[in-house]
């Protein structure tokens, strides 16, 4: 395998809160190859967004802090960089697209200025030239009439156009890695499809890798090459998209896939919900975080935390019982896949 563009090793991020210290990202490791799309899936509080912010070194300190691990980007450990060194990378070689296109653009600056800014800052390009680049970028994200749009303001834009502007900003310095945190959650489905198609097409064109943070298993299936499933601050399963959906191993992944209604499933059939509720990060059980909701949990699960093990090349899973479950549950999944 080629050298990964990004290699995260044992990343741990903690927050100090009124209720004590909580570990939002706990010993997380993964890597991203150049040009690859990695999806990080999880529910609220699973640590997926904090992982993204940690990669960008944007964790507010205090109360948060990266307390351990390495973030090796093109061989350089981002955790060790000073703020100034990190600023030189942020928006240049790594760019981020946020969930809220409404609030992540500066309402007091023109759209053109916001797109031109990173070019001016990182490439030391004079403003006039940077505006030319910005115009090209607006064209690229298919905002019509780019030349006159440079002088417009974010409030004149619809949600979809703002997210296109965010993508243009992210692409401005031709980054090697784009991190998109729930980029379409605030948008309608027809616009979501446009934006994600565009993002995918542009990353393919520029060869940039993409980390897509989402809770939507449909979006993951459509756009991701590789998937990491997070629960309670930890990665519980990791595989290429095809394998993960066809042969999920972790009870949480299986549970999620069984609990969502699908456009192509039998309508009216009862869904199989995961009982209980997502864990409270301040009060995680000592063993497996999913144990209180898991139908296969044993004494071992509540006592010791299962580590990520390699099941097959590229397929990792953190469960004490995945093999035993596999034998028992294959009957259930077989009937489901027969229908699909």
């Amino acid at each position: 395998m080629a050298t990964p563009l990004l290699e995260v090793k044992n990343l741990t991020t903690r927050f100090r809160t009124e209720r004590g210290e909580l570990t939002a990202v706990d010993d997380v490791s993964f890597s991203v190859q150049p040009g690859q799309t990695l999806a990080i899936v999880g529910e609220s509080g699973s640590g997926k967004s904090v992982t993204a912010l940690s990669l960008m070194r944007l964790i507010p300190d205090p109360p948060g802090r990266i307390v351990g691990g390495q973030i090796l980007f093109e061989g350089q450990d981002l955790v060790k960089l000073t703020d100034r060194q990190m600023q030189a990378i942020r928006g240049d070689r790594i760019a981020m697209i946020f969930q809220e296109p409404m609030s992540s653009l500066n309402p007091a600056l023109t759209v053109g200025m916001q797109i031109a800014e990173p070019v001016n800052l990182h490439r030391k390009m004079p403003w006039a030239q940077a505006y030319e680049v910005a115009k090209g970028l607006l064209d690229k994200v298919r905002i019509p009439d780019a030349a006159s749009r440079l002088q417009t303001w974010p409030h004149q834009y619809s949600g979809g156009m703002r997210q296109r502007t965010m993508i243009a900003m992210a692409l401005a310095c031709q980054p090697k890695l784009i991190i998109a945190d729930e980029p379409t959650t605030a948008l309608d489905v027809t616009v979501q499809a446009q934006i994600l198609d565009l993002l995918k097409e542009l990353t393919r064109e520029t060869g940039a890798a993409l980390i897509l943070i989402t809770h939507d298993l449909g979006v993951v299936a459509r756009y991701a090459d590789h998937v990491a499933v997070m629960y309670g601050g930890r990665i519980v399963e990791q595989a290429d998209a095809g394998t993960l959906y066809a042969h999920p191993r972790h009870p949480y992944t299986r549970g999620l896939l069984a609990s969502i209604p699908r456009l192509d499933s039998t309508a009216g059939q009862r869904l199989v919900p995961i009982k209980g509720q997502p864990p409270d990060l301040a009060r995680l059980p000592p063993g497996c975080a999913f144990a209180p909701r898991c139908q296969h949990a044993s004494a071992e699960c509540s006592a010791s935390r299962p580590l990520l093990r390699t099941l097959a090349p590229g397929h990792l899973d953190a469960c004490h019982h995945d093999q035993a479950i596999d034998a028992g549950a294959s009957a259930g999944t077989a009937s489901e896949s027969a229908h699909a």
Partner: protein, 342 residues
């Protein structure tokens, strides 16, 4: 109420929001036509899904039916009674028609105990006179939605989102309604919790014969719960059909695009799928396009679509569609077998 009569009948409903007057002459610059001529019916025990993107008027339609929103024109008939002129606060019909809200955090008073939240509708309607019966009723309601009766003395903040939504459902059930308007009841919940609430709604319908007007943007959830589905776009219903027909063969280009835009949680299916991606975004409801409102984004738009507004036309099998591609299909369907050898 005769059997063949619908539980809820909405005829040509219009809800317009006039804009504040401008200029010296204080002329009104127009109105946002949030709902502009919507008709549908809902039978007892049935679920009608109302889907569409933000701003299509689906929530306003729900509020108008509940009479929490003044109506500009049209008629709303519920249990055989014309309720268009009634108000939510005073209307007697509200015992029979309740609502479950989207936000389980904002819709429950944080200073009230669960007991009082669930009992409040009973108190309002004077059904709390016998204390023993009243407490039994609350315990029964909590059990009905899968909560424990001893949770009655807790406050909303002690519950998770899914549990709070159950409290909201128990509150809606207190007066034994025949219809519950559900406005995005699961969209604020985590994925693994949504299924719990969806199942509660389904079980209650089977057990109590409730009808739901299920308003949502998630087409997979809507498909799962609904018997029939109405698709809205810019204040109009563009297509209405029984569930399986709608998903198997959507007729309106907007329905087709909407279904095509929803990703299926299976990479194999996704890779094999033919997709229609419509361009652009929903136009402003202040100035909807002339002719068919979808023509600015429609891949099949014809010259006629820019001028003529297609009416919602009834087709066979309980379907209806508002699209020029299907104009006259009803008659032609009947005239097809006329191919006789000379």
């Amino acid at each position: 109420m005769p059997d063949n009569q619908a539980l809820l009948q909405v005829d040509d409903l219009k809800v317009h929001f006039p804009l504040p007057p401008k200029g010296i002459l204080r002329q009104s610059p127009g109105a946002v036509k949030a709902v502009d001529g919507v008709s549908f019916s809902l039978n007892a025990g049935e679920t009608l899904g109302l889907v569409g993107e933000s701003g299509c008027g689906k929530s306003t339609t729900g509020l108008a039916v509940l009479r929490m929103q003044p109506v500009t024109a049209g008629r709303i008939t519920f249990e055989g009674q014309d309720i268009t002129a009634q108000q939510a606060r005073t209307g007697t019909f509200r015992r029979r028609m309740q609502m479950v809200y989207q936000d389980p955090y904002g819709s429950l008073n944080p200073r009230m105990k669960v007991r009082d939240l669930v009992g409040e509708p009973l108190q309002v309607h004077g059904m709390d006179k016998n204390p023993g019966e009243y407490q039994d009723r609350i315990a029964g309601l909590l059990k009905t939605v899968g909560l424990l009766p001893d949770m009655a003395d807790r406050y909303p903040h002690e519950f998770s989102g899914g549990q709070r939504q159950r409290i909201g459902i128990a509150r809606a059930l207190a007066l034994e309604p025949s219809l519950i308007i559900c406005d995005e009841p699961v969209s604020a919940l985590d994925v693994s919790i949504q299924a719990q609430v969806v199942n509660v709604l389904q079980e209650l319908q089977e057990r109590l014969g409730l009808a739901y007007l299920f308003i949502a943007h998630d087409l997979a959830v809507v498909r799962h719960l609904s018997h029939r589905i109405a698709v809205m776009y810019l204040g109009r219903i563009v297509e209405i059909a029984p569930r399986d027909e709608l998903y198997r063969a959507p007729l309106h280009p907007y329905t087709q695009a909407l279904l095509s835009a929803v990703p299926v949680a299976d990479p194999v299916v996704e890779r094999a799928r033919q997709r229609i991606v419509v361009q652009g975004e929903v136009p402003s409801a202040l100035k909807p396009p002339p002719g068919c409102r979808f023509h600015t984004r429609c891949p099949h738009a014809m010259p006629q679509c820019k001028v003529d507004d297609p009416p919602l036309q009834q087709l066979d099998g309980g379907r209806a569609v508002a699209c020029h591609l299907h104009t006259g299909q009803h008659t032609s369907l009947h005239s097809i077998p006329v191919k006789v050898a000379a």
